[in-house]
Symmetry: C2
Subunit: 322 residues, 2 copies
DNA sequence: ATCTTTGTTACGGTTAACGAGATAATCCCT
DNA sequence: AGGGATTATCTCGTTAACCGTAACAAAGAT
């Protein structure tokens, strides 16, 4: 028995003052309306309407119940409107997780731009270098860098491709020379980036002769942040692998130089991960759509700038959008 | 789709943290609970729960909707409790109509006694000498005096039998003599009681020779209240027909005398009329039951007192209960 | 790696919901 | 006062929805 439906019928009868009028209003038959009220009365074991075939009158219990019904129906409508709204209009808080480097360099800017078109969406951004449990930690969206698509049951959208390059400080290169190929790195002080998505000891490169791997056994320095790594490299501690986005600024202003320019790390994919595709919240949907629309371009611009740097020996004249 | 049932399921799942646990709690199958939540989500076009096979987590929309659901379910429960209560526990206002004479002499006392056992019932009593439209005027119960059961669609319960007798003042009898049979009345000043339940001009009597009718063509006095009629008779204006309950006090204290003691008016039935027998309000049910339990006895006592008066020539020694 | 637990989906049988027509009862109009 | 019209309810046959069983898929736990 659909109590809400019966309540609607009862309320409509009380308002219209007639079963037939209520039936017309509800686009159903009088039999139906009659049954609805009868069911309600049977369920409550209470007479709600005194009726002859010609007129109806609410009982005292009916009057009271009617008030409650109307309130309840209004609440239900309100709740449904609000819930449906979540699907239609982007609003509310968006809990986003992202890996620290990406977060610093792309996500915060992206949030700022996204909020210009969707000011009703607020953000709770968490930067952490791990792949989170979306359900346990309550994230709506996670932005992760990974070599391949994670096989969790969640929905993944690829936001673009990036890679890392080997860098050192000009002073380090001057003092220790520049490696020309991966195996040369064994003779250098290799600073290692600790990250869940790239192997710590095995460094894989794509070079002119295909993929080459070198195993780094020892390191004077380990750190889990790409920006900290950049600072470490800049200070001349050794050579290190840096994501393009973390290296580009240093290359621009000359505090970093790229070594082994023919080699780059294996490509990494940037993914947005979220729990479900069904009945997706508007804020999640629009946010992921925005990322898909803006991030690939920005990543590509960085890479284009890097290529231009390789060609011209300097970054002068090439400006990045954003 | 029973939205309330789905809400209960959803609420239960959210509370229990598992579909299976909710199914146990609701005494149904997991499949059912799963469908309930799915239906809700489909209806709202909004994801309420993010779920893997192992864990579930509310979405933001789900959290908000859950709060609403719990509130709504509480309201529904409250409304149902209140409405069902009307059937179980006598309380609230009882709107009663009664004919004036009966009301004065029996109903007010009955209300006072009834309320000793049901103090939560309040009364709205209307005295009027007409058969009301229960629906239009919103009466719960009407107490009417009629020669035969009214054929309206309402429920009638007989509360007892009464009749009227012909009375005059001792002074009037001394001056004008006492009528011995109905036809004698034509030579007397006949005071007439205007009432919807007894004919105005045709007075019907049950006497030793069966029913006799006399037509009263003119009258010095018409009034619509039995008590006013009693006062008129007492003051010696003429002879009149008085209901037993209105006459007894006068007979007791000697301000009235009965004429034609072998004749009485046609018996009149006292009825309680109320709109419905189905899912009757507790206050209506108990009230009518109380009337049925107490009124016949009181009416019979009056009549017994009257018979005793006829036999002994006085009312001394016979006391009426109440 | 296998087993257990858990949520979802598919299927089939039962149930109830629905609409049309019949019925009874009341009101309005003549 | 009586007949027509309106109105709520009842009945019945059809249909669609619901429910439980069971197979399936996925995620922890051992």
């Amino acid at each position: 028995m659909d109590t809400l439906q019966n309540m609607r019928a009862f309320s409509c009868v009380a308002e219209a003052g007639s079963f037939t009028a209520a039936a017309v209003q509800l686009d159903t038959t009088t039999a139906n309306v009659s049954r609805a009220v009868s069911n309600l009365e049977a369920h409550l074991q209470t007479r709600l309407l005194n009726r002859t075939t010609r007129r109806i009158a609410l009982t005292e219990a009916g009057k009271r119940y009617l008030l409650r019904c109307e309130q309840i129906l209004a609440y239900v409508e309100e709740a449904e409107a609000e819930a449906s709204d979540a699907h239609a209009r982007p609003a509310g808080q968006l809990k986003v997780h992202t890996m620290t480097g990406i977060g610093q360099h792309f996500v915060i800017d992206a949030i700022a731009r996204y909020r210009k078109t969707h000011p009703d969406v607020t953000f709770d951004l968490t930067l952490a270098n791990r792949v989170p449990d979306l359900l346990d930690e309550g994230y709506d969206v996670s932005i992760v860098l990974a070599s391949e698509l994670p096989d969790s049951g969640f929905v993944s959208q690829r936001l673009g491709i990036t890679y890392s390059i080997v860098c050192a400080s000009p002073a380090y290169v001057k003092a220790n020379g520049a490696a020309q190929k991966p195996s040369d790195l064994l003779n250098h002080a290799c600073l290692r980036l600790v990250s869940p998505v790239i192997p710590l000891e095995k460094w894989a490169f794509d070079g002119p002769d295909g993929q080459e791997t070198v195993t780094i056994n020892s390191s004077p320095f380990l750190v889990n942040s790409a920006d900290a790594m950049k600072t470490a490299i800049t200070s001349g501690m050794g050579v290190g692998v840096l994501p393009v986005y973390a290296a580009i600024e240093g290359l621009r202003n000359g505090t970093l130089v790229r070594v082994m320019p023919n080699y780059r790390s294996q490509e990494l994919n940037l993914y947005a991960i979220y729990p479900s595709r069904q009945y997706l919240d508007a804020k999640i949907k629009t946010w992921v759509e925005y990322l898909r629309g803006s991030l690939p371009e920005i990543l590509a611009a960085h890479q284009a700038e890097l290529v231009a740097y390789e060609l011209t020996g300097s970054l002068a004249g090439v400006r990045v959008a954003n």
